[in-house]
Symmetry: none
Amino acid sequence: MSRIDKKQAILDTALTLFVSQGFYATSTASIAKKAGVATGTLFHHFPSKEALINHLYLSIKQEFADAIQSKISQKGELKTDAQNLWQVAINWAMENPLKQEFFQQYSMSPSIASEVRLQAMNSILGFMGQLIKQGQKAGVLADYPLSLMLESCHGQYLAATRYFIDNPTSWKDEEYKRSSFAMFWNAMKA
Amino acid sequence: MSRIDKKQAILDTALTLFVSQGFYATSTASIAKKAGVATGTLFHHFPSKEALINHLYLSIKQEFADAIQSKISQKGELKTDAQNLWQVAINWAMENPLKQEFFQQYSMSPSIASEVRLQAMNSILGFMGQLIKQGQKAGVLADYPLSLMLESCHGQYLAATRYFIDNPTSWKDEEYKRSSFAMFWNAMKA
Amino acid sequence: MSRIDKKQAILDTALTLFVSQGFYATSTASIAKKAGVATGTLFHHFPSKEALINHLYLSIKQEFADAIQSKISQKGELKTDAQNLWQVAINWAMENPLKQEFFQQYSMSPSIASEVRLQAMNSILGFMGQLIKQGQKAGVLADYPLSLMLESCHGQYLAATRYFIDNPTSWKDEEYKRSSFAMFWNAMKA
Amino acid sequence: MSRIDKKQAILDTALTLFVSQGFYATSTASIAKKAGVATGTLFHHFPSKEALINHLYLSIKQEFADAIQSKISQKGELKTDAQNLWQVAINWAMENPLKQEFFQQYSMSPSIASEVRLQAMNSILGFMGQLIKQGQKAGVLADYPLSLMLESCHGQYLAATRYFIDNPTSWKDEEYKRSSFAMFWNAMKA
DNA sequence: CATGAATGAGTGTTCATTCAT
DNA sequence: AATGAATGAACACTCATTCAT
């Protein structure tokens, strides 16, 4: 196993254990053991357990942002774009349930340094903010305060993924898919 | 200080410390000290630290449910009722920011036994479920799957309180108040 | 074993182990085990290993100062007083070889906080300083700079106890006893 | 940087760090880093951390012995020779404060193997022993037991250098210089 | 020779919990 | 019921040392 493999093995194992047992109930020793490395190796790559979870948080947020932005295109028809975005975002969650679960658990938790949380939030919200402003200019979206809309979007997304991850078959059901987008869209439309 | 006072002091202090430092970063000794009781006393009232936070969770959820249900009345006009409900619910959060923050942090956290979480959830959602079903029968609310709507409601509520607790002055601003309800209502309306 | 007994057992054991193995080679666990208490108990009485050795250092210095000052009397004839002082001080060292060894090892070591070292030093040196000044005024002692004389006294005392502890039978030999005092006294006399 | 340069860099850095932080508080990694070499390199030159400090101790003792012996000459007048010796020895300490401080800290510490300490001691004391014996034969020095006098000399030297290193300007003051030698000499003279 | 990633035994310290008073 | 000293398992983290490159 190469250097990079070891680092990745630590990150992967940490993700699994943090989600299934929680941050504090997961000892660094157990991460190292399950990842197949020595305890010291974990601390060779990450200066502390805190640094490990922060790194995990940021890298997953980045991975999510990259996945979304690479797959959506703006063709002009905003509702279609939004529908596409919603589908891609929830698809990502369905394909990465562990990572999504990680967000659900740690987005509000004091285990993640608040500055890290902010930094991650802004990278995504900047992008969403642009979209919403465009929609408002075009008269398609309601003129609610931007920051409130962003928080609402985020809340709806968390709620929808929570639901579909707990009930994965529903995501294959067109009625559920359509309903979830409808609630998301109607909340914001003009 | 009487028995009951001591028990309450422990609960109050635990709430404050769990929210500001997190469950695992808060030692039972520090709770006892700040509450002005001996370390052993905490364990006379609660068999374990886990039992303490579970008790806290359930009692706050109950307090919330009581506060809501005592203040809303169903006059027949569903939208007005909903508006009233939304306002009452967010008011409660604004008046009890520590308790609301506690929900935000622990609703998704493995610190709370999942059965306790479910139990608390159902007591509130049962009530909400009734309201939504009525609205659908009356043709005022859209016919989306009930469980999905409940999750969405919950998500919107969490998002809104998150926002207003972070920006308390906005809750005095009619535009923000109206906007937040509009998003909540439009998401669900027929 | 009572509370105080446990604390004392910890101090006694720490003294023995610190002297025989050194501060860093002595684990807190080994101190606790040999003292017959749990590891946590050590930290119940001393907030840290550092605090333990500092406490040890100060309490032994105090014990030495008390022992000396209780046994010497100033009759006016300074040389006789000095001889008495020298004998009492070395006797103390011979009767407390562990404590003397502790000084030898830790008086110069960075294991003891420098402020603690200073504090201890001053309590003894204040007393010695008085004696020397009296001797100078009486014309019995040479008019060397006081601080230099104090350092020299200390050095002679450390050297003598080092020697007699390594060669305990010599302390019963009048020639050695007389010689050691002669060097001490002649160094300072007018 | 050549092999020898690297080895010297390691020794120099080790000296600095051992003195300023203590042996156990100085990690081999920190020595290597500050010396500008890899961690493994340190272990190419010294089989262990222990070996490193022992080497350091012996080489500095040797350096001291060489410096002293190269600069003193025995002209016959013992007091003058002694004065010269005292001055040269303290001068060396003043010019090599780090190395002197190293002795102060480690001469009594268990960090240095006791056999190494003895070996170093004897190389110097052998030389001093000769001088004292000559002085006694010539009737200039008192007939105290030799081993006791050697220990006393050493103690006075340590005390004097401690003082002058802490108060470097005093060493330029003739009064202090004269006083320190006077105490040293009077202690031993016949 | 030189490197630095990897190792894993060992450390100081914490803390939920117990129990004699 | 209330206390707080005592417990000891568990933890995050360190570090001298090794060895493949």
